[in-house]
């Protein structure tokens, strides 16, 4: 009993630390935001993430780590096997006409729905087997939490209520990657002004002292000379300071090799636009297509985020409808729909954007004396920046754009214009059907196996994947009940509720502040996600973490459904450094953010664990293979 009691607490403990990261060092954070997903991704490990991690964590992590390396060898293997099997099956199932199953398999076999459901009591029959394979068997809880579920090719991220295995795993990752990240920290500190301030200040002081001395020595001579001396001495001090810094960095890195300054600068990801940096904001404003008035009542904590008054954007964009000739009408329409909220939801936004691009490509003509590859890339970029001005991109859209741009870049030069356009269009169609539609189908197929008769399923907000799962399960004749949890101000859940009730499901609707009252009758929690980051963090609508935490406290398994094209290599430790602000008029409380990350202990996403076996890594989509360096 004791260990099971202790377990969750142990898991909860790291959380405040997580949080502290966010609130403690906002200036550093704001300067070293994660890379913009739309830009070409930074190279791997050395610049995985500029996010700071407080050093004490690593120490404790390393201490905790020792148990981890012997992850049951059995499980990954079996999961891989299942995954491959499932893959070929799926390819045959869904893509009968596809010429080569290779591409589809490469994506559809991403994540095995590992983990299973742990519910305090041993539910699975394979509990003991798994327990024996678990070195940390000392904890009852882990022993109970056997993964019964065979791994499959799913894109569902099955989420475990277990709070031990994964966080430690993640910590292990951190421990392993700590040198990288610390280096990164020092790296970024080099570029940042406030960071170098210590050395700089010293330099300045010295220079001033020298200047003073010089002035004293030379008595009443012109002050101009003094100034020049000042400058000179400052210059002289500079290299020393550099060396100083490097030395510090070296000591921090504990012997890790230091790449030359230039390389390191190149490696560092392009910092995301920081909206508290006045000069940059000015510059961006001049470029902007959509005029945006800034919000007046800013919140200090979110100052670095783009903050605009939502009311003013739409009329302005509308008024200049006929002035925006470079934007294709289809793209314009989608942008407008983003702005007005006609389209929301990661999948729908991504699909709408891709379809608009498809149309734009269809109407595209290569101008004289230009090559298709370059000109079209520029065009797409301009469309994207227009869309960003309408609403910040979601991660899924970033990935889709990256895909499209890479397809454009890889077009063979021998293709004629019409052929190239046709191939791009079919690429887009394929992206939609394979990465979104098919992924959803696979998720549904897998997740339905988790629904049993008599279940009470809770969902939060309105996720297309979850909706499809529920409807499919209903079609299969499963007897279950749904609890739709909703939140202000958008009340997306009401729409979901309406559709579910129309289909004849029995539903309960409640608001998020009542989630703890309803949770005791719930047996499964299904959540959608905007993105899953490479450290396993789920990035989703604000409130998701709350639901997950409550579910965790009630020992209810949480399952997050997320297609693999939404994965991102970014690591984000808080939901402050990069987020999107909602309309200040609509929010009732001071929680302004739209997105929220769900801390790992509560979701226990299994991606890092799956990345582990090399066989699986191969089948990961690009974004994930990059994150393989986590291990």
């Amino acid at each position: 009993m004791d260990p099971s009691r202790r377990a969750p607490r142990a898991a909860i403990d790291p959380v405040p630390k997580f949080r502290q990261v966010g609130f403690f060092a906002p200036p550093e954070r704001s300067q070293s935001g994660p890379p913009d997903p739309t830009h070409s991704s930074p190279p791997i490990s050395s610049s995985l993430s500029p996010v700071m991690i407080p050093p004490p964590r690593h120490l404790s992590d390393n201490l905790l780590l020792h148990a981890r390396p012997t992850v049951s060898p059995l499980r990954p293997d079996s999961s891989t096997a299942a995954a491959t099997a499932g893959t070929s099956f799926d390819a045959a199932d869904f893509f009968p006409a596809l010429p080569s199953p290779a591409p589809s398999s490469s994506y559809s076999s991403r994540i095995s729905g590992e983990g299973g459901f742990f519910n305090g009591g041993a539910r699975g029959s394979g509990a003991k087997v798994a327990a024996s394979s678990f070195p940390r068997g000392g904890f009852d809880l882990t022993a109970m939490k056997a993964s019964v579920v065979p791994a499959s090719e799913l894109t569902t991220v099955s989420v475990v209520n277990d709070s031990l295995g994964i966080p430690e795993k993640e910590k292990g990752n951190k421990g392993g990657g700590s040198s990288v990240e610390v280096k990164d920290q020092s790296n970024s500190s080099k570029q940042q002004k406030p960071k170098t301030s210590k050395a700089e200040r010293r330099a300045l002081q010295e220079a001033q002292r020298a200047a003073k001395a010089a002035a004293k020595a030379e008595g009443n001579k012109a002050s101009g000379t003094a100034a020049s001396v000042n400058a000179k001495s400052a210059k002289a001090v500079k290299p020393a300071q550099k060396v100083d810094n490097a030395a510090v960095a070296a000591s921090e890195k504990k012997g890790a090799e230091i790449p030359p300054e230039k390389d390191r600068k190149k490696d560092a990801p392009q910092p995301r636009m920081q909206y508290d940096d006045k000069s940059r904001v000015e510059k961006a404003k001049r470029r902007a297509v959509v005029k945006q008035t800034e919000a007046r009542n800013r919140v200090e904590l979110f100052r670095h985020l783009p903050q605009y008054e939502h009311g003013s954007q739409l009329p302005d964009l509308e008024a200049r409808f006929f002035h925006l000739s470079p934007v294709h009408p289809a793209v314009y329409k989608v942008g407008l729909q983003y702005l007005t909220g006609d389209i929301s939801g990661a999948n729908a936004r991504c699909i709408a954007m891709l379809q608009a691009f498809q149309e734009a490509i269809k109407d595209y003509k290569v101008p004289l004396e230009k090559t298709l590859v370059r000109d079209l890339t520029a065009k797409v970029s301009s469309y994207v920046s227009f869309l960003i001005e309408c609403r910040p991109l979601s991660i899924s859209m970033g990935n889709a754009i990256r895909f499209l741009k890479s397809r454009i870049a890889k077009l063979p030069l021998t293709l004629s214009e019409s052929e190239a356009k046709a191939s791009l269009q079919s690429d887009i169609v394929r992206f939609i059907s394979e990465k979104i539609i098919l992924a959803n189908k696979v998720i549904v197929k897998h997740a339905v196996t988790k629904i049993r008769d008599g279940d009470v399923l809770l969902t939060y907000g309105s996720s297309s994947a979850v909706e499809m799962i529920l409807l499919h399960a209903h079609e299969l004749g499963r007897q279950f009940r749904v609890v739709v949890v909703d939140s202000r101000p958008k009340h997306r859940g009401q729409l979901l509720l309406r559709r579910l009730v129309e289909k004849g499901l029995s539903c309960t609707y409640t608001h998020i502040n009542a989630v703890s009252y309803i949770m005791h009758e719930v047996t499964r929690v299904f959540l959608g996600a905007s993105s899953v980051l490479s450290n396993g963090t789920v990035y989703s609508r604000v409130g998701t973490a709350c639901v997950a935490m409550v579910a965790h406290a009630f020992r209810v398994p949480v399952i997050v459904c997320c297609e693999a094209y939404k994965f991102h290599e970014r690591v984000q430790l808080d939901s402050i450094c990069s987020n999107e602000l909602g309309s200040p008029d609509k929010r009732a409380c001071n929680c302004k953010r739209i997105w929220e990350r769900t801390a790992l202990p509560y979701t226990g996403v299994t991606i890092p664990r799956i990345t582990k076996p090399p066989k699986m890594t191969i089948k990961m989509p690009k974004e994930l293979t990059r994150s393989a360096s986590l291990e």
């Binding site: 869904f94 893509f95 009968p96 006409a97 596809l98 010429p99 009329p315 964009l317 509308e318 008024a319 200049r320 409808f321 006929f322 002035h323 925006l324 000739s325 009408p329 314009y332 329409k333 407008l336 729909q337 007005t340 909220g341 006609d342 389209i343 929301s344 939801g345 999948n347 729908a348 936004r349 699909i351 709408a352 379809q355 046709a422 269009q425 079919s426 169609v429 394929r430 939609i432 059907s433 979104i436 539609i437 959803n440 189908k441 309105s462 297309s464 909706e467 729409l495 309406r498 559709r499 129309e502 289909k503 004849g504």
Partner: protein, 459 residues
């Protein structure tokens, strides 16, 4: 952005009769000493729409309008003027130029519209919803709908104004019912199916159809082809489209997205359905969408189209010059509260007096007045809230209040003009008193006559 603009210039309207003539068609009626059409053209120019088709009823009127446009907008706009026979109606006018229309969407603007509502907003709304027709609505003028007010306004008490009755869905984005002034009796008929689909209809009587429409070209052309009896856009085409939006008969060309790749056709069938479902679920469920998808998720998609509205904000100015009352109102407003429309710069006294105008001793020109070039005024005159055109000669001790005086008018001494419209080349002899009168072009009012609420014109 793939829009074509058609300006319906009209011909010689009966409603404006003493004011307009073959030489001075509706479109050229001066508002603050500028033809009313120039307000529309400049409004379009401001929206970066420089390729226009102006349709005018009547050959002679078309020649006048054409020559004026070519003089005033020589290098600024690319305008084509088309003449259509008289009394073909707005629908007939569009039918006549139908073969010139090629773009995806068409903006139809009435030539007598004076407004500053952003045109792009209407077009953007149209595009956003992919609507068949988008109507711009503005708040109806306080003086009552223009149709009810016949000349002079002496019969203001006679009958209550007839309003456009406009039914909107709860989000106020879609038009579900429209009944224009003439059709409205005591009761209002609404289709049950519509009520069922929308759930809640908001009937507004305080809105006015500004006669600015965005049409989907293919639909408009098809409707005009099929229904040859349709005479007016406002009274026939628009109500038809609104009425039939739930079971659309017009063939909306383009079943969404034909897959171009034959090999993927099999997949696309089921995928397409899922795709549309995802997209449909993503948006706030507006009633056309809910209705289109059918109840309880039946897969058969119904044929529907959307009729959208754009409701102009109350701070925007939007009026049509379609009655004499409206003419006076617009003249007053353009000089007064909506002065940014006039394009003139006002003096410190908040009025416009051309430097070449001559004022006699002790003559006062109040705020919200306009005095055209070359006009002369005698001693001890007073002008309040009025527009006086070019080269007018006004004698001594004349009072002009709330009136419009066009060009080359001669007004004798000691006249008093109140709430009247005096057309070009009119001669008012001494001691004439006019109240709420319209004086047609070239008319001579004999000395000492007193008129109230009369129409004075050459027979």
């Amino acid at each position: 952005m793939d829009f074509q603009v058609v300006v319906l210039g009209g011909g010689v309207s009966k409603k404006l009769l003493p004011l307009v003539s073959q030489e001075l068609p509706n479109a050229l009626l001066p508002v603050a000493n500028r033809p009313v059409l120039s307000y529309v053209l400049e409004y379009l120019e401001l929206s970066n729409l420089k390729d226009l088709i102006v349709v005018v009823e009547g050959e002679e009127a078309a020649v006048h309008v054409g020559s004026w446009i070519s003089g005033a907008y020589a290098d600024r706009l690319h305008v084509e003027v088309a003449a259509v026979p008289e009394d073909v109606g707005t629908a007939g006018a569009i039918r006549a130029i139908s073969h010139h229309l090629t773009s995806k969407d068409i903006l139809v603007v009435s030539g007598d519209l004076v407004t500053d509502v952003p045109l792009g907003a209407v077009a953007a709304t149209h595009r956003r919803h992919d609507a068949v027709v988008t109507v711009m609505l503005c708040s109806a003028p306080i003086s009552g709908p223009s149709e009810s007010v016949s000349s002079g306004g002496k019969d203001k008490t006679k009958k209550p104004g007839r309003y456009d009755l406009i039914g909107l869905d709860p989000t106020r984005q879609f038009l579900v019912h429209i009944a224009t002034g003439a059709e409205v009796d005591k009761d209002l008929r609404i289709h049950k199916s519509m009520l069922h689909a929308v759930g809640q209809i908001e009937i507004r009587a305080d809105l006015m159809d500004a006669h600015l429409y965005a049409f989907k070209r293919s639909v408009l052309q098809e409707v005009l082809d099929q229904k040859s009896a349709f005479h007016s856009l406002k009274h026939d085409v628009l109500p038809y489209l609104v009425r039939s939006q739930l079971k659309s008969e017009v063939l909306l060309n383009g079943v969404p997205q034909e897959e171009e790749n034959g090999t993927e056709k099999v997949i696309s069938q089921s995928n397409q359905q899922m795709l549309s479902q995802i997209l449909a679920n993503a948006s706030e469920s507006t009633f056309p969408l809910r209705h289109a998808l059918g109840p309880y998720g039946t897969t058969s998609v119904r044929n529907t189209h959307k009729c959208c509205v754009y409701i102009a904000g109350s701070s925007k100015y939007c009026t049509r010059l379609n009655s004499i009352q409206a003419y006076s109102d617009i003249n007053r407003d353009v000089i007064g509260e909506a002065s940014h429309l006039s394009g003139y710069s006002f003096s410190a006294q908040n009025n416009i007096i051309d430097p070449s105008a001559e004022l006699g001793a002790k003559t006062t020109v109040g705020p919200h007045c306009m005095l055209g070039e070359g006009s002369q005024m005698g001693d001890k005159c007073s002008v309040k809230r009025s527009v006086i055109g070019r080269h007018c000669r006004i004698g001594a001790n004349v009072k002009v209040v709330n009136s419009v005086v066009m060009n080359h008018v001669t007004i004798g001494d000691s006249c008093s003009i109140q709430g009247s419209v005096i057309c070009s080349n009119v001669q008012l002899q001494e001691r004439v008193v006019l109240k709420d009168c319209q004086v047609g072009a070239g008319f001579v009012v004999t000395a000492g006559s007193e008129c109230k609420g009369e129409v004075l014109a050459k027979k």
